[in-house]
Symmetry: C2
Subunit: 505 residues, 2 copies
Amino acid sequence: MPFDPERRTAWLPDLLYDGTHFDRDRTFVTDERAGHLSEIGFPDIPAAPRAVRLKNRALFPGLVNAHSHAFQRVIRGRTEFRSSERDTFWTWREMMYSAAERLTPEDVYDASRMAFLEMALSGITTVGEFHYLHHNPDGTPYDDPNLLAKQVILAASDVGIRIALLRTAYARPGFDAEPNPRQSRFITRDAGEFIEHTEELRAELARGEQAYAKQVRGDAPPPPGLTPRGGRLARERVPLAWVGVAPHSVRAVPLEYLREVAAYARARKRVVHMHVAEQPAEVEACRAEYGRTPVALLSEEGLLDERFTAVHAIHVTTGEAHLLGSSRAHACACPTTERNLGDGVVPADLFFDRGVRVALGTDSHAQIDLLEDARELELNLRLAKLSRAVLPPAASDNPSIKPPPRPSSLAARLFECATASGATSVGGRALERARPGDFFTVALDDPSIAGAGDDDLLAAVVFSSSRAAVREVCVGGRLIVENGRHFAQDEIVARFSALQRKLWG
Amino acid sequence: MPFDPERRTAWLPDLLYDGTHFDRDRTFVTDERAGHLSEIGFPDIPAAPRAVRLKNRALFPGLVNAHSHAFQRVIRGRTEFRSSERDTFWTWREMMYSAAERLTPEDVYDASRMAFLEMALSGITTVGEFHYLHHNPDGTPYDDPNLLAKQVILAASDVGIRIALLRTAYARPGFDAEPNPRQSRFITRDAGEFIEHTEELRAELARGEQAYAKQVRGDAPPPPGLTPRGGRLARERVPLAWVGVAPHSVRAVPLEYLREVAAYARARKRVVHMHVAEQPAEVEACRAEYGRTPVALLSEEGLLDERFTAVHAIHVTTGEAHLLGSSRAHACACPTTERNLGDGVVPADLFFDRGVRVALGTDSHAQIDLLEDARELELNLRLAKLSRAVLPPAASDNPSIKPPPRPSSLAARLFECATASGATSVGGRALERARPGDFFTVALDDPSIAGAGDDDLLAAVVFSSSRAAVREVCVGGRLIVENGRHFAQDEIVARFSALQRKLWG
C-alpha cells in the first residue's frame, strides 16, 4: 500500500482492546497529518474522512520489542548443530561473532530488514535495537562512525516500524580477559568518543524528523482537535527513530567509562539499556572485579531509575529485585532466546512482586513471536515451580510504587509487558504518553483463537495465538501489513535469501 | 477441494525431506486407488497421470500427534484465570471436568473438529485420541456405548486426518479416593464390558474400511507397481481410523482390571497408551497402593513392549528409563501442555540415552503446534540444565536397542519424534512400514524460515517455524489444506464459535 501522508483514518474493528478492556463500537483514529498520532473514539467522530471497517477483527495496541540484535537473524538455525566440544552460551557466542565479522554495511541492512519484517508480521510496531556493530571487521572506523547504525535505522524505516537505536558502548573483552579479535567491530575505547558519535546520530535523526514533519504537514495549520467526546488530540509528534544508549554490560564497560556514559544519559534524558546478570559467569566476574553483583554496583552508581532497563536480569536475588523496583527501573526478559541459550528463567514473580516493570525482547531471533515470549514469562516459571498461575494477576500493591490502575488478569499483565512496559523501556514516558497510532489486528476466526469471547479473548491471544492470526499492522496510521502480508515482503525475503547464500552457501 | 478417489498424483516440491535428508528433483507419489499409499520416486515415474508442482515449497512427512483430548479445546484460555485458591494441576482438572460434563454428542463432534482442523493446519496428519468420554453426564450409558467415540472419529474423518481412537478405560477415581461425580461419563467398572465395547468399535471400523476400500477401488484390479526405479508399492492399505486401548493410569485402573485389558491388547496386537508419572502425587499414590512406582509396576506386569506408550513419563528415574528403553516402549511428551499445567519437563535426555522412542502430543490443546512441542523437548531441558544442545544428535548406541540408522542432527531427531516415533506409538510398526501418503509443505519464503538452505532448513523448521509457514497438507493423497486454508475451515469455525457461545456466553 503506498504511503499517503494526508490520511486521517477511523479504523472500525469488531473489538478494540485499549490496554484494560475490550470495547465494541469504538474506533481507533490515526492522523498522519498531525504526526502519526491517534485517538480512540466513537464511530461518529467527525474529523475522519476515511473509515475502514476491520470485519471479524480485534484490534490491539502495537507490540513493543524492547531488545533486539537484528543482524543475528543470519544465524537462525545454524547454531543448533552440536559442536564436538560442550555447547554453551559462550560457544554460541563465538558462532555469532563469526557471522558478525563477515557482514558488509549492505548485509547489515538486508539482515535487519528481514528481522524487522518478521517483527511487523507478528504485530510488533516498535523495536529497541541494541546495536553494537560499529566498525570495519578489522576494527578501523568507517568514515561515518554511524554508518552501520544508520543501515539498521534505514531498515526499520523501510519496513515501517519505529526504532529506538540503543547505541552500544563496548570497551573491552572483560575483566582481566584476553583481547578477542572477533570483537573488533564493537569496541570504542574512549567514552568521550562514544558520546560524541551518539550525539551526532541523534542530531542527524532530529534533522531528519524536522524535514519529515515539514514534508508531512506542508504549510497547513495543525489539524483541529477532535470533539470532546472523541477525546483530546495529543500534541507531540511520536518520532519514528530515536537514540538511547546501551553500555553493553559491566563486563564490557569498565566503571569510569560507565559513569561518563551514565552522566551523559542523565543530562540528556536518554534511556539506558544494559545486559545484566544473563550468565552466572558474568555475575562472578563482576564480584571478582568490584566485590559486588552487577545490580548492586549499578544501584550504588545511581544508574537505576525509570529510564534504565536491565536486560535479562536472570541471576538476581529478591534484594536486587527490590533495588530495581524501588528505583522504577525496568527489566527486559527475552524468554525464547533465554531458553535457546540455556540462560535460565527470568524471576518475573520477584519482579512483579517488587514493582519492576518487565518488558520483553526477541533478542537473538531464534524465534520472532513476542506473544510467545509473553506467555513464556509465566509458563517457564511454571516449569521451574511445578505449579500453575505463578505470576500475580494484579499490579503490585507495594505502596512505594504506586503504579497506575491496571487490569487484573494474568493475560492482561503479560500483554502489558509486551506493550506499555516495552514502550516506557525503549521510549521513556514520552512514548507511552503520546499514544502512537500503532496497532495490530487478529482474525477472530483464526483457529488458534476461534470461539473466544470478550472475556477470554485476551487469554487466548496471549496463551495460544499463532502468528498466522495477525492480519493487519499499522504504524502511525500507515498500514504496513494487510491481510497477513507486508507491502515489501517478497523483495525483503529475496534479498535476505541472497545474503544467506553468500554467507553460508 | 472435492475428494476424487481416482487420482494418482506426483507431487513435485523444490525440496523433499524423507526422514533422513533433503532431495531436489524427487517426487512424492500418492495413489488413492491403491488405498492411500505412496512412494517417493523420480520425476519420470510413468504411472502418475497428474503432476502437481509445489513451487517454493519443501515437503515433509506428515506430523503425528500421539496424544490428544480433542474436547479440551473448549477450555482453551478459560483456565488462565487465577482462582482464589492456589491454582494447580488438580484445580485445572476440576475446570476441565466442568466442561466435559456439559457436552452433548454433537458438541463433542464440533469441539473435536475444531481441534483436528487446527492440527491439520499445522501439518498434523494423524492423531492419537485418548478418548475417555463414554456415557451420559449422569453416568448412564448411551444406547450405543461408542456413540461419543464415533463422534470423534467422524470429526477426524470429516477434517480428513487419520485417527487412532485410543479407547480409555477409567474404573475408579483413585486409590482410596472419594467418588467424583464429575467423572461419571468416564467410568466403566467392568473390564470385560470395556473390552467388549472396544471390540464392537473395532469391528464397526473394519466393516467401514472394507466398504470404503471397495468403493475406492471399484472393480478395477490392483494398480500396477511402479517401475523399479520408482521403488516398490506397498501392498497394505493404511486405514483412516483404528482402535487402541488406553487404561487411563494406575490411579484410575486397578491392577486386576489392567491385567485383563493388557491381555486383550497383547492377544489382538493393539497399541496401549497410559498416563504415567505426570504428577508427583500420582507416583506417591501408586507407591502407597503397590509399594512401587508406576513404571516399575507396569514392567513387572509385562505391559512394557513396543506397542506400549507411557504418556508424560515426567517423574521417572534413570532406572525406569532403562526399563522403558530395553522393552522398546515409547514415551509421549506433551511439552506445551506440561508447561501450561506445571507438570515439569520430560527427561528426554535419559530417554534418548536409553533408547526410548519419544513421541509428541498436544494433549490439552493449550496450543496446537507440534513443532513447538518438538523444539520444547530440547529447549525446556536447556532451561532446567542451564546449557545448550542437551539432547544427543545421534541415535542411541545402546547395543540392546539396535535402532535403524537415523540422521545425526538434533533437529532430525526432534523431527523424528514428531513423525516416525509418533507413528509407531499410535499405529504400531504397521503404520510406519506402510508409509502413508501423508505430507505437509512449508513455504520456503515464509519469514520464519526464509534464507535457510538444504543444510539448515530442518533446524529452521524445527526450532523457528510458525504455523503460518505451513501451506499444503495431504492425507493419503487427498489435499485437505491448500495455501494455508482447510477446505471446510469456515464452517468448522462457525460451528465451534456457536458451541462456545452456548457453553460460556
